[in-house]
Subunit: 122 residues, 2 copies
Amino acid sequence: VTPGELALTPTTLSDLYRAYIDCLNRQDWDQLGQHVADDVEHNGRPLKLAGYLNIEFLASDPPLVAARLAFTCSPKGKFLGLDINGRTVSFAENVFYEFRHGKIASVWSVIDKVAIEAQLAD
Amino acid sequence: VTPGELALTPTTLSDLYRAYIDCLNRQDWDQLGQHVADDVEHNGRPLKLAGYLNIEFLASDPPLVAARLAFTCSPKGKFLGLDINGRTVSFAENVFYEFRHGKIASVWSVIDKVAIEAQLAD
């Protein structure tokens, strides 16, 4: 019996997800395989930005988790086609995850590029 | 007792949400007040595009609903700062709603602008 086949209540799934976000915030890349399946599917390039990631809120409806994440980071060079060049920007990501066997198997992410553009225009 | 105070199970909330999307697809603006609170808060301009709106999936975790919506539409002029000029574009919106008393009270939406840019570059 794998973790995904145990009682996957909304609370269990929230806890699994929060552990993943903690792992990202620790930049503990060695442990990422505990949270993400080897063959994870993603609609874009996964965000591996150095910066802090905060869960604004999440909806847990097994096997799906949806989260609104807040990022603050200072990407070097380009990000989403925008010249950031080390400026500090804050933006939201609204993202869905499908869990299988207790790990993230698919990701559908949308980043608020319009909000970043507004900050660069300031 | 208002609808929002009745048993607001994940299924109830999903059904309320699907009725809202049906209303949008019918372009039945007169009925919109049955689904959306008068003082709804939104992080951007609500989408009132003529075009078809499809729920790819949703996560219902009362009082939150998160949905990934697929749009196909042909905006005239500019949309999100992009010159669309009537071209047909398809894009996703990842969006969270908070329900109160059976109606949508807050909305946090992110539209996949990067996907639209890629279509305009084709």
